[in-house]
């Protein structure tokens, strides 16, 4: 009967829909043989691979671009060569969206086997949620720089292997400095004079794109360190002395606003986006002379405008007269750190992949091509830039890791938001720091 046919048809449709909506089940080895449509998504293809004998697929999420992306890919190739039965599904993500992407994947129970992080408070959030595998046993700790490994070590357990480190100097355009007879500043007053000379000549002193927020945070971190000394942040973070509303922080906020009022930054910094290259364009077109940025800027330059590299020099953020900080205290961080997800089904292989990604070979490759300092000991630097940078790092007496990656995410967000407001002159420094401190009290209570 016709109607009966329709009923059956509907029933089958419903079943299909229900089956499609169900959770993906990797023990389902029925073999999705009728996947001839070519629309096999990542999940399906990995399932297929597993059921077709002993082929295993690992997924890797990273955020590297340009030359460092190639280094990652080469490391993956080496790994695949050593493990012929394993293929690695490499997926490159964009920097800022990556953070939410990963938490969605973790919460949804479908994380990549190996993933990128920056260590610190962000990684710890996942460790606390029991989402990251303890790889202490498979990692050779002696391989790595102590400071670098510390960002992914919690309670003496290692949760990630570092590949590279970065320091944040002030990059500048040598040609412009020469043209106006400027010299690398020793003190903060020297820097203010440079700012004045440049604004008088219609050149924006600092290129900054602060919609991204962490970019502006560099200035606050440096100023706070130069005023309050290297222990300021640690005391506030560990709740053992000064707090986030300490006078040193307020003073740093005031200095940021002073710079803004002097015209040290482009018009509307808070609307410009680092990821779309708006600040770097100002540097390349020589409408801005300096930029406080991590060493990865060299990587960006080589990718985007190689000929600019000749003009690129750097100095360390100068010390402030009467402050407790020193010129050779640097702000820096570790990136990438590779970790294994707790939910992975191939924990041994994934840990092995981490070891390959954080190997001397990858680190050497990345240092020489991408302009980052190795977190793996024993790298011979060919690149003069990196040689210089690594010497800076080695001679520095203190390293301040980025606030936004060291602090727990919620507090980091308040720090970033209030710093952005400082740059927009829409919040008084006292108020901004009081807000950070209020959140710190809430979040950091043990």
């Amino acid at each position: 009967m016709f109607n009966k046919k329709i009923c059956w048809f509907m029933l089958i449709l419903i079943l299909l829909v229900v089956a499609g909506c169900g959770p993906s089940d990797s023990t389902n080895t029925e073999g999705t043989a009728d996947d001839a449509t070519g629309e096999t998504d990542k999940e399906n293809s990995s399932e297929n691979a597993e059921s077709d004998g002993d082929q295993t697929t690992l997924t890797l999420w990273h955020i590297e671009t340009g030359p460092s992306k190639e280094s990652i890919e080469e490391a993956v190739e080496r790994f695949e060569k050593n493990n012929p039965n394993v293929s690695v599904d490499v997926s490159q993500q964009e920097n800022d969206p990556y953070k939410s992407q990963l938490s969605v994947a973790m919460g949804g129970g479908n994380p990549p086997d190996v993933f990128h992080s920056w260590g610190g408070g962000w990684l710890k959030q996942f460790v606390d949620s029991d989402q990251v595998m303890n790889i202490t046993d498979s990692v050779d700790e002696s391989l790595y720089n102590e400071a670098a490994l510390s960002v992914s070590t919690f309670d003496g357990k290692v949760y990630g292997a570092p590949v590279s480190m970065d320091v944040v100097p002030v990059f500048y355009n040598k040609d412009i400095f020469e043209e106006y007879g400027l010299e690398e500043p020793e003190t903060y007053n020297d820097l203010l004079e440079i700012v004045e000379t440049l604004t008088d000549n219609d050149i924006t002193p600092f290129a900054l794109a602060n919609q991204t927020k962490w970019t502006g945070s560099f200035y606050l971190m440096y100023l706070a360190e130069r005023i309050g000394g290297p222990e300021l942040f640690n005391e506030a973070f560990e709740r053992t002395g000064r707090n986030f509303d300490d006078t040193a922080y307020v003073e740093a906020g005031k200095k940021v606003q002073e710079l803004v009022e002097m015209g040290a930054f482009p018009e509307g910094v808070n609307g410009m986006n680092y990821d779309t290259g708006q600040s770097r364009q100002m540097l390349y077109t020589e409408s801005a002379a300096m930029m406080t940025m991590g060493g990865w800027l060299v990587n960006n330059v080589r990718d985007e405008m190689p000929e600019f590299e000749d003009k690129l020099g750097f100095f360390l953020f100068p010390s402030i007269e009467g402050g407790d900080g020193e010129k050779n205290h640097v702000v820096g961080g570790v990136s990438p750190v590779f970790s294994v997800a707790q939910q992975t089904e191939h924990s041994e292989l994934a840990a092995e992949l981490v070891n390959e990604l954080a190997s001397l070979e990858t680190a050497t490759d990345m240092s020489n091509n991408a302009g980052s300092i190795s977190a793996v000991n024993g790298v011979e630097y060919e690149d003069p830039y990196i040689k210089e940078m690594s010497e800076v790092l080695e001679s520095s007496q203190a390293m301040q890791t980025y606030y936004d990656q060291t602090l727990p995410p919620e507090l980091a967000q308040v720090h970033l938001d209030t710093t952005q407001a400082l740059f927009g002159l829409s919040m008084e420094p006292e108020q901004a720091m009081a807000e950070v401190e209020a959140t710190a009290k809430e979040v950091l209570k043990e």
Binding site: Q211, G268, N270
Partner: protein, 309 residues
């Protein structure tokens, strides 16, 4: 039992059987859509409310029941109020610009101007572009130092108006709203145009015979017949504005200093950046309630005007 009764019983039986069969067919047709709707809408709404009663990061198994604490916190949260305010700004701006502009463009497409086919594509273009591309394009247009908009202002001698459009808290939300309207006006243009094509030509002929002017024709024929689609468009526009997310996320990320935060972007930030799934869910659920109330009001208003007419 008489024969008559037997027959009538028989027909009742047959009718009943037929009715049964119809029910099954109806269920068969409705069920697939209903199951999808149930899982992705109804179930999700309940789960959102359920999650909103917990203090939960969203990535671990540790959920602490806090009752309605999240909502209490929400009502004291300045950023949430800013975001509601921004959402309503967007609603009003959308209603006041997207619909009229869409209508004007649709009318223009009917005017006997040469090359109208070309303009039809040109007008529709913004809606075809990917939102992210539009966002990045407008970031560069609004740029404060070398942006197109500032260059144009300089070119026509309005230097005094130059500013960093999306970098300033006072102008950022307007800059984004203008972009949203630019993107969505063509959508309503197409809706209106499709309806206008369906208006019978005889009505206009009759009006011509009566000696009606162009404005009279528009006022007495086109507009009344467009009314149902205008109401539908208004609902689409209001609901769309209340849950809007994309361009804000791409262009300002809710900044500077949360001045362009919408409910949806704030929810995203709380949930995925700050790891507050519970709090984020309470924002989502509030969004649902607000959109629901607004829709009910529009529908009630629509019914009452229809009743009067």
């Amino acid at each position: 039992m008489s024969r008559l009764q037997e027959i009538s019983l028989d027909t009742v039986h047959v009718r009943k059987k037929k009715k049964n069969k119809d029910t099954w067919v109806i269920i068969g047709f409705i069920a697939p859509a209903f199951i999808i709707y149930g899982v992705y809408v109804i179930y999700s709404i309940f789960m959102t409310f359920y999650y909103s009663t917990f203090d939960w990061t969203g990535i671990d198994a540790n959920m602490v029941f806090v009752g309605l604490d999240n909502y209490i916190q929400l009502f004291q949260d300045d950023v949430f109020w800013t975001s509601i305010q921004n959402n309503f700004l967007l609603v009003i701006a959308s209603l006041l610009t997207q619909l009229p502009v869409g209508l004007i463009m649709a009318l223009l497409l009917f005017s006997p101007i040469k090359g109208m086919r070309l303009f039809r594509s040109v007008y529709f273009m913004p809606f075809l572009m990917s939102t992210v591309a539009i966002g990045i394009l407008f970031i560069f247009i609004y740029e404060g130092n070398y942006g197109l908009l500032n260059a144009i202002l300089e070119g026509i001698g309005l230097e005094s108006l130059q500013t960093a459009w999306i970098g300033k808290e006072s102008t950022a939300i307007w800059a984004v709203i203008a972009t949203v309207c630019w993107q969505f006006a063509p959508f309503y243009m197409i809706l209106f145009r499709a309806t206008m094509v369906g208006i019978p030509e005889e009505l206009y002929e009759a009006a011509d015979i009566d000696g009606a002017s162009g404005w009279q024709r528009f006022k007495s024929i086109t507009l009344p017949l467009l009314k149902p689609i205008i109401i539908t468009s208004a609902i689409l526009s209001v609901i769309g504005s209340l849950k809007y997310f994309d361009l804000i996320y791409v262009m300002t990320g809710g900044g500077p200093n949360n001045s362009t935060e919408l409910m949806a972007t704030y929810m995203y930030k709380q949930t995925f950046t700050n790891f507050n799934m519970g709090y984020g869910s309470s924002i989502s659920f509030s969004m649902f309630i607000i959109a629901f109330i607004v829709t009910v009001f529009i529908l009630l208003g629509d019914r009452s005007t229809r009743g009067n007419g």
